[in-house]
Amino acid sequence: MAADATASPQEQLDAALLAFESALPQVSSETQLYDLQVQFLGKNGAVTKLRSLMGKVPPAQRKELGQAFNRVKQAIDEGLAGRKLALAQAARELDLSRHVDLTFVPDPPRPGTLHPITQTRRELEQVFRRLGFDVVDGPHVEAELYSFDKLNIQPDHPARDMQDTFFIARPEHDPREGAPSLVLRPHTSPVQARTMLRYGAPVRIIAPGTTFRRDDDPTHSPMFHQIEGLYVDRNVTMADLKATLYRFVGAFFGEGLAVRFRPSYFPFVEPGAEFDMQCAFCFDGQVSHGCGLCKQSGWIELGGSGMVHPAVLEQCGIDPTVYTGWAFGFGIDRMAMLRHGISHLRHNFEGDLRVLEQFTSP
């Protein structure tokens, strides 16, 4: 915009202001606003240049022209500021008018999972740790001595038939005449023997782990998992065993479930008993009314238990006249199946993705 050289300074100022005011509404961005500011108020801006006219007017008019000049500049500043604010508001409103559908998101990646047997074993370990038990394991290939003899299961005794056991051959390169006969442990009880031999009494442990028996049918797998508990100390009683099992069942399955014993026989305990818990799956807080899982009986068989046989204590270097103890054991796999309602044992070991991926856990 060229200044009209014939116009008076006042007129030129008015014209500049007019030009500014007509340009201002066209501005739609901060950069344009900045360009407009430079165009009028920059070093070579239209208004700035008019300042040089000051020297060309008579001194008497200078004051008036100065005031006019300031008025125009102020008007432009205000116009710029107002426009800037309006632009920011418009931008904010535009931003606020966005709408994104956050119910439409890609599926989260499927989380990795822990096997239900691992989950159950860990939860059992946690509960028993809280009850003051240490967790111990031992070798899977174990001496017959620790698997049977030290547990009061004598050679050629029918009690050996209570579990059909895998025997392990010595390697060709190291036959070792007279080496101890080895088995795949049919229960985790050898861990009890080892722990008593190593640490003596008092001792309080659980031994969770992998076990093996020569069984393979819809309800038995040649490999399975067991957990056993052992407490040897002075004054240990069967009532203490009941109290411990009661607390365990309460912590694992829910408070208030009763525990009962039925006399039975396991060679390493005497007296021996099977223990049942009130069915947690049809329990109303008082009574278990019966369901499919407890075969309508209201009770679920959990495992075997009893007072450690004095012969076992003797074999493991503990004086049975000073110490007594109890032991219990049950299957982890079955516990996992009960908890999760797993319908068939084979699901445990086939590795079917569609089965495994269900077992998300914290």
């Binding site: 990795g112 050629d156 025997f167 007296p271």
Partner: protein, 853 residues
């Protein structure tokens, strides 16, 4: 063991309610008897009820052949009130006047069939003449059941024969209770529990006074193996079918009737738990028996026709020449009682249990006899009772007369008296039980008590309870009969301090890596620890000495002696076969991509040369003889191959899974070539995971041959594993100060032979940087970037347009910073130029064409 309630009721001296629906409040109903048995430790498996409400005795009045069927007869049958016409096809129909079991119209047979009037080839039949099997009272289905002529027509069959109406309870008897393997032992427990008097089996005709002792009848050579042998010589035996009550009784407990002699021995066996055997004395050489061990290789043919070659550990009952029975297990064919036998030698013996068990196992002959002998039978009162009962019944049923006997004895067991402090019962159980109650229970079970010392009772267990040897055994008996319902749940208190046992670090590491692998999108699999021999051998190597922890030689495989199947012939030396099985299982059932992991043990015998950590402690002697069971953590990923040659994506993903799992426990693995290429991985797609100078694992793509063998060629599989025993102990993190001054980066693109790995490039750059020392104080160095936390970042491994075949372009970003100041562009550029030049100098030695792009 099957228990007949009818039989039990005779021994309990009172009737039991054997038919459903039972009355819940009747303690003598079968269902409550069953509950009682379970509470006594004789666990009940099930109850079955039997009855024949409408089956009657029928009299054959007239038999005429069916006009239109040669095998059928028309029988006019008198049912006590009227004559009924029945069509019958049996060939053993008795002559007129004979009695048969008749199911009239309206009767329901045990299999559920309700009889109605029907026509058989034009002739009306009003009911059916039945066989034993149809009535479920015997196993003879050959012909109809012919009843004694003297029985009244019209009488209900089940009123005439005890045991037709019955409840049969199946119990499982634990190995400590041989006494409960006969009805008498179970009845003894029940009598005490129910408060009845035990009635011993009747001996109506005792061994006659005229029978004379005949020492030569039995020669006891192996007295240590047979401490007592009662032999009876019987004459005038008439072998034939047993009376119906006896056949029914045997059938109820699951036995097949043979002939009256064998049936009597079986009856007494199931009554008293005492097995016995009858020889045809006529067929015994010398008419006598010798109890001796067999000579090795001596032959015998058993009753059921099996030829055995005996071992010198077997006990036999021989005649003057040859073995006639494998003692306590099974009789021989040669002296078997059969039709025409008139003279018997009846054996009632006590054999040493362990040897019987060895013989039975040696020939896999588990019989009702061996089952009881190996659990130990009574050697005194009950043995004598069983003998007298059998002799008496044989006389009654077969007419046999006992003419001579021999009681050959060697050293009999002497049950030691047990000292019991009655207070100890309550102390062990944690509940109070009165001394009177303890005495009542023990005496009720046949224990002789001397209570003169109130704190030390002298208890003599009966000879039929070999399981009662220590005071805890008596406490168990008290517990069984007193019941555990009142047992409180009460913690005991001990004055001693429990020690805290050390944690097993490997177990902890295994759990941590399990969590680490699971934190990727992998699913934990648990596979059976067995594998097939050929699968195991895929991983065997001949390297001697082993060059990495997973190396093993074929002889190191751990093998069960008695695997269940060939595919489980050895313990896994490697986790891959089990994971591959799971992958194959999945790929056969769905098309989804798959990622599995497993953390578990493998099993290997140590080489004699490498005795690993020497075991210590009280179990060391055993531990030295065990195989090693190192843990492995393995991951596998599989997906359908895309068509073009796989780019190793899954192998990379698995490598990353393992590195990430290690990073989660604070270990940082470097990737470089494995110490030794694994033959089961693709030769060009495998990598070692290293911590320092130890290889701790390996990963890669499965070898195409292995995939082909598994029929998985259509798939891409990445596998990797960590060897837990090679991992260093988990570090405790040491804090490092946070970098406060910014660094700067330089990108570098190299053109290299494809066999030059990025690991080699990283090594070259790192060593070049280390060599380019500077005199300045606090010079710029290659240093960890903020993201990722590494000095050199691998950005791309590019193959394709612009890069020659067989070569790749590696794009890297190098991070430089100084410790306590900001760096300038110029000094970093100078350092970077030096580093690149130094690295290229090393790389051109292996690849002369190596250059900066």
């Amino acid at each position: 063991m099957l228990l007949s309630c009818t039989w039990l009721s005779e021994l309990l001296g009172r009737p039991l309610d054997v038919s459903p629906p039972f009355r819940a409040d009747d303690p003598f109903s079968a269902v409550n008897i069953a509950a009682r048995l379970t509470n006594l430790g004789l666990e009940v498996e099930g109850i079955e009820y039997f009855e024949l409400p409408k089956i009657i005795v029928g009299r054959v009045d007239e038999v005429t052949p069916h006009p239109d069927a040669s095998k059928l007869n028309i029988v006019q049958l008198f049912d006590g009130a009227r004559t009924i016409q029945v069509v019958c096809g049996a060939s053993n129909l008795p002559p007129v006047g004979g009695k048969v079991a008749f199911a009239p119209v309206g009767a329901v047979l045990p299999d559920g069939l309700e009889l109605s009037e029907r026509e058989l080839r034009g002739v009306v039949s009003n009911g059916m003449i039945c066989s034993e099997t149809e009535l479920r009272i015997g196993s003879d289905g050959e012909g109809i059941l012919v009843l004694p002529r003297e029985w009244e027509p019209g009488a209900l069959l089940q009123d005439l024969v005890p045991g037709i109406r019955d409840a049969v309870i199946e119990i499982s008897v634990t190995p400590n209770r041989p006494d409960a393997l006969g009805h008498l032992g179970v009845a003894r427990d029940l009598a005490l529990a129910l408060g009845c008097e035990l009635t011993l089996p009747a001996v109506p005709v005792p061994v006659p006074d005229t029978a004379k002792a005949m020492p030569e009848l039995v020669t006891l050579e192996a007295g240590d193996r047979c401490p007592r042998y009662l032999g009876y010589a019987l004459e005038d035996c008439s072998v034939g079918a047993s009376p119906l009550w006896l056949r029914v009784r045997l059938h109820r407990v699951g036995l097949r009737a043979r002939n009256n002699v064998v049936d009597v021995t079986n009856l007494v066996l199931f009554e008293t738990g005492q097995p016995m055997h009858a020889f045809d004395r006529q067929r015994l050489d010398g008419e006598r028996v010798v109890v001796r061990t067999a000579t090795a290789g001596e032959p015998i043919t058993t009753l059921d026709g099996i030829k055995l070659e005996l071992s010198d550990d077997d006990l036999v009952i021989a005649d003057a020449k040859a073995p006639q029975a494998l003692a306590g297990v099974m009789g021989g064919e040669g002296s078997m009682v059969g039709e025409g036998t008139t003279r018997l030698l009846l054996e009632v013996a006590f054999f040493e249990p362990r040897a019987i068990r060895r013989s039975a196992r040696r020939y896999a002959l588990r019989t009702d006899s061996s089952h009881r002998f190996e659990r130990q039978v009574d050697f005194a009162g009950q043995l004598e009772l069983a003998a007298a009962r059998a002799v008496s019944l044989l006389h009654q049923i077969s007419g046999a007369r006992c003419v001579a006997y021999c009681d050959a004895q060697a050293k009999l067991p002497v049950p030691a008296p047990i000292t019991l402090d009655p207070d100890h019962v309550g102390r062990l159980l944690g509940m109070d039980i009165a001394a009177d109650e303890i005495a009542r229970i023990l005496q009720g079970l046949g224990v002789t008590l001397d209570q003169s010392n109130a704190q030390a009772w002298r208890c003599e267990p009966p000879s039929f309870r070999p399981d009662l040897g220590r005071n805890v055994d008596l406490i168990e008996e008290v517990m069984r009969h007193h019941g555990l319902d009142e047992l409180p749940a009460r913690h005991s208190s001990s004055p001693e301090e429990l020690m805290v046992l050390p944690e097993d670090p490997v177990r902890r590491l295994a759990d941590a890596l399990t969590d680490g692998l699971r934190a990727n999108d992998l699913h934990e699999h648990v596979s059976l620890a067995f594998t097939a021999e050929d699968q195991a051998m895929l991983f065997a190597s001949e390297a001697e000495p082993p060059r990495s922890p997973d190396d093993f030689q074929p002889t190191q495989l751990v093998r069960p002696v008695n695997p269940m199947r060939l595919q489980q012939g050895c313990m896994r030396p490697h986790l891959l076969p089990g994971l591959l099985d799971a992958v194959a299982y999945n790929l056969g059932r769905h098309t989804r991509a798959l990622g599995l992991f497993e953390v578990g043990r493998v099993y290997l015998w140590p080489l004699t040369s490498d005795q690993a950590a020497e075991p210590t402690g009280p179990t060391a002697e055993i531990d030295r003889c065990l195989p090693t069971e190192p843990y492995r953590a393995a991951a596998i990923r599989a997906q359908r191959a895309s068509g073009s040659a796989p780019a190793g994506e899954l192998a990379r993903a698995v490598t990353r899974d393992l590195s990430a799992a290690l990073a989660r426990v604070g270990l940082h693995a470097q990737l470089r070539a494995p110490a030794q290429p694994r033959t089961w991985l693709h030769p060009g797609v495998q990598v070692g995971l290293w911590i320092g100078d130890r290889q701790v694992g390996v990963a890669g793509e499965l070898h195409p041959d292995l995939l082909a063998a598994r029929d998985l060629s259509e798939h891409e599989l990445g596998y990797g594993e960590l060897w837990l025993e090679a991992l260093p102990p988990l570090p405790t993190v040491q804090f490092a100060d946070v970098a406060r001054f910014p660094g700067t980066t330089r990108d570098l693109s190299l053109d290299l032979d494809q066999r030059i790995s990025s690991a080699a490039v990283l090594a070259a750059l790192t060593s070049a940087a280390a060599d380019s020392g500077s005199s300045t104080d606090d010079p710029p160095r290659l240093a960890n970037a903020d993201e990722p936390r590494r000095p050199i970042e691998l950005i791309e491994d590019y193959r394709g347009a612009g890069v020659e075949a067989g070569r790749h372009a590696l794009l890297l970003r190098l991070n430089y910073r100084a410790g306590q100041r900001s760096v300038t562009d110029a000094e970093v550029q100078a350092l970077h130029d030096k580093v690149v030049a130094g690295a290229l100098e090393q790389l051109t030695r292996v690849d002369p064409a190596a250059r900066v792009r």
